[in-house]
């Protein structure tokens, strides 16, 4: 293995990806942003610091031969990045998008060719994993082209994932990166990456900003997801240290939802004036609303921002439609809609969805981010009815460029604290780059990995359990009660392994055997092998089933083999489950996530 020259951080986002890098030899080296050449139109290649996470599956007649070259490939035949987003604006049925959200879908197998989602059969489909691979391959090819003497395969690469990703989604991300043949590679949770960016900007002074016993609440609002984490400030050998003690649930709610909310508001306004809008115009409004929102929420002198929707024909003046967005409207839609002043006891609304909606992405039903935060803090506290009281808050994501949103969110959390009798307000940690913190933090994390800085202790964000049916006489009309056995405890660190010696399972050779699989972000005390015969409904969350097939050449089909389960957290940061027979030296890997 060669020694890495750079530490590379890839923020693999739902809507766009960014690559940052830093030279490992120099501890004072600056973290730099890499620009990626990409097609912006047929025959036109531009270098941009963001690669939009889109792929366009073009119709044969749309393609202009010899007009899709990339600096590293004259014969390129894929439309990835800006060109895909541009073409997809007008032909959405051929646009692959949100692949990242599909990786953690509960009922869809991310290896199935389903994207572009629900488009005509004629459109060539790819799987969410393939799409993710293609984004990574584009980024890697761009890097290798620019750095022929420091190929990405030999560098220290960190790819970020939401903290709420389940073990299957983490594995799938690692699988998508397989074609890059990375020699030094690991995954990092996005909120942790933001904290690394904060550590980087503070330098040695970070110890002055927090103290022993502090709990930092990280709120990371991306384009499509909201990701929550708690980081505790501990002491280790007399020095302050950091460990990630809790992560939130997967919430598909982000900045894009806010822009869309404003766009629909404009749409309603225009409809009241008798102007009907076409679907393509909504795209144009959403874009205009994003800029208007930022202006209205940052600049106190502006009260209205005009929104102009250009015509699609060549007559610009006659065909354009004009409306406006006011400060009050933005306050109502964004502040009251997404950050309402709710109590700590108010939880997000959950309504039963009809079976049909299960097919799409499971977007959060309650847009109130404050309620989701309240839910996280309450759920993570050991005592019923109480909640975790953060002493510091770190905000990340472009949404927080708005001072109005920051102040509102921090004051709501502080009102929860003061109502609960906490004297001191939570302090807002500042200094991070809201757009680039994740990528920059991920590359800076390379120093920590090499022991040259503070490393956030993470490990498994959940305890994991397999479900087995209780051995008791069958009662007609009742399902056999389920027991859960802990196979991987909370906080199990990267590079460690645990065998569950207390429970033997009988597996049938040649037949797939499925286990029910559960995760818990709140049962932190369970050790491997713990038997649970009772739990609260929200204590254990059911994950997609796991499966093992014993294709043993040395055994007879139908034979029952007693096995022990073994759990490993790999250096990459993924969970690996294996079945090891009590007699023999074979090892069978258990596949995570079998979606029905």
């Amino acid at each position: 293995m060669s020694i890495a020259r750079y530490s590379i951080g890839i923020d693999l986002g739902t809507t766009h990806s960014v690559l940052s890098y830093v030279e490992l030899a120099d501890e004072n080296a600056e973290v730099k942003l890499f620009t990626m050449p990409q097609l912006t139109n047929f025959g036109s290649v531009t270098e941009k610091s963001q690669l939009p996470s889109f792929i366009y599956q073009a119709h044969d007649d749309e393609i202009q031969s010899q007009q899709m070259p990339l600096p590293w490939s004259a014969e390129n035949d894929k439309l990835v990045g800006s060109i895909a987003r541009n073409l997809g604006l007008k032909t959405p049925i051929r646009l692959v998008s949100s692949a990242k959200s599909w990786l953690s879908h509960a009922t869809v197998n991310p290896h199935d060719k389903i994207l572009p989602f629900s488009s005509p059969d004629e459109v060539a489909k790819i799987s969410p994993v393939t799409a993710t691979s293609q984004y990574l391959e584009h980024i890697a090819a761009a890097w290798d082209h620019a750095n022929p003497d420091a190929l990405i395969a030999e560098q220290d690469v960190t790819i970020t994932i939401p903290a709420s990703f389940d073990p299957a989604a983490r594995n799938l991300t690692a699988q998508a990166a397989q074609s890059l043949n990375l020699q030094h590679f690991n995954l990092l949770e996005e909120p942790q990456a933001a904290v690394y960016n904060w550590l980087q900007t503070c330098g040695e002074n970070w110890r002055d900003q927090v103290s022993l016993g502090d709990k930092i609440l990280v709120i990371d609002i991306g384009g499509g997801t909201t990701d929550l984490s708690l980081i505790a400030v501990d002491e280790e050998e007399g020095n302050l240290s950091l460990s990630r003690i809790a992560v939130g649930e997967h919430i598909l709610l982000g900045g894009d939802n806010m822009d869309l909310a404003l766009a629909y508001r404009i749409k309603m306004k225009l409809q009241q004036d008798g102007k009907a809008l076409q679907p393509w115009q909504i795209q144009a409004i959403t874009h205009a609303c994003r800029d208007a929102k930022e202006q209205l929420l940052t600049d106190n002198d502006i009260d209205t921002v005009p929104i102009v929707i250009p015509s699609r024909g060549s007559k610009l003046i006659g065909g354009s439609t004009k409306s406006e967005l006011t400060r009050t409207e933005v306050a109502e839609s964004i502040l009251a809609g997404f950050f309402p002043e709710t109590d700590i006891t108010e939880m997000p609304k959950q309504t039963m969805r009809s079976a049909l909606t299960q097919l799409g992405l499971p977007y959060a039903q309650d847009a109130a981010i404050t309620k989701h935060i309240a839910h996280f803090l309450t759920k993570q506290h050991e005592d019923e009815g109480d909640f975790i009281k953060p002493t510091a808050i770190l905000l990340n994501g472009g949404v927080f460029k708005s001072e109005a949103i920051n102040q509102r969110l921090v004051s709501i959390i502080n009102s929860w604290l003061s109502n609960a009798g906490v004297e001191n307000n939570a302090t807002l940690l500042t200094g991070t780059d809201l757009d680039l913190a994740v990528a920059n933090g991920a590359s800076f994390h390379g120093f920590a990995k090499h022991g040259k800085g503070v490393r956030i202790k993470g490990g498994l964000a959940s305890a994991y359990y397999v479900g087995i049916e209780s051995a008791m006489p069958a009662i007609p009309g009742f399902e056999a009660p389920l027991e859960a056995i802990c196979i991987a405890p909370f906080g199990l660190e990267e590079g460690s392994n645990i065998d569950i010696a207390t429970q033997e399972f009988g597996l049938v050779v040649g037949q797939p055997v499925q286990f029910k699989f559960f995760g818990s972000t709140i049962r932190r005390e369970d050790i491997a092998g713990t038997h649970l015969d009772f739990w609260q409904p929200d204590e254990l969350e059911q994950l997609p089933d796991i499966e093992v097939i014993l294709n043993a050449d040395s055994r007879n089909k139908g034979e029952i083999v007693p096995v022990l389960l073994s759990a490993t957290v790999t250096e990459v940061g993924t969970l690996k489950l294996e079945a090891i027979p009590s007699n023999g030296d074979e090892v069978w890997e258990i596949e995570l996530a079998v979606r029905q």
């Binding site: 036109s44 010899q66 070259p69 102009v308 699609r312 060549s314």
Partner: protein, 203 residues
């Protein structure tokens, strides 16, 4: 009398001036024709010499070729591809060509204002994304500045009462703009830059 005089003097002035203009024009054309002829003759001679001498004396051939190459180097045509490319970018981001090609005399200021927002926002995006701009002079406009000796006349233009020697003292009326970096998209071979915007057909 006065009237007559003016009439007399007026009547010939018109044709005289006209004649004068015609004379100057024909002179200019004649000179142009001469110089052009001269060039043509020169060229034919230049071309003849190498053909005749080519086989015998190599040295002469070299000299004449040098001369022919020098002629087009005095002024060079700007690359039309880059200009077309910029227009295409301004059209796609700012609807620039749509706006310029449109008849606006009948439109209200409100309508033009709405269109101007699209053009302003889009053009700004193009300029910021593909060019890095910086002012040439960092001083406040309408303030006293001193232009030192050896300044670049392409960067700083002296106007008004231009007399004396450097250093010049004057009022900065316009700060100037300079492109410090261009990052225009790279084009594929045989890319047809003449197409500013493709026709669109919705199926």
């Amino acid at each position: 009398m006065n009237l007559d005089l003016t009439n007399i003097s007026n009547i010939p002035t018109g044709p005289d001036a006209l004649h004068l203009i015609l004379l100057v024009l024909s002179l200019v054309l004649f000179i142009a024709l001469l110089t052009k002829k001269g060039q043509v003759i020169e060229k034919t001679i230049e071309k003849q010499i190498p053909v005749e001498v080519e086989k015998v004396v190599e040295v002469i051939k070299e000299v004449t070729i040098e001369k022919i190459v020098e002629v087009p180097a005095i002024v060079q045509a700007a690359d039309p591809a880059a200009a077309c490319q910029l227009l295409a970018l301004l059209q796609s981001e700012a609807r620039f060509i749509d706006f310029i090609q449109e008849e606006i005399s009948g439109a209200t200021d409100d309508q033009i204002g709405a269109a101007a927002r699209i053009i302003h926002a889009g053009s700004q995006k193009v300029v910021n994304e593909y060019f890095s701009l910086s002012p040439i002079r960092s001083e406040e406009e309408e303030s006293q500045v001193t232009i030192t000796e050896g300044f670049n006349p392409a960067e700083v233009k002296l106007i008004g009462h231009v007399v004396g020697q450097a250093p010049f003292r004057g009022i900065l009326t316009h700060q100037g703009w300079k492109i410090t970096e261009t990052k225009l998209p790279k084009l594929a071979k045989e890319h047809d830059t003449r197409i500013i915007a493709a026709a669109e057909v919705e199926l």
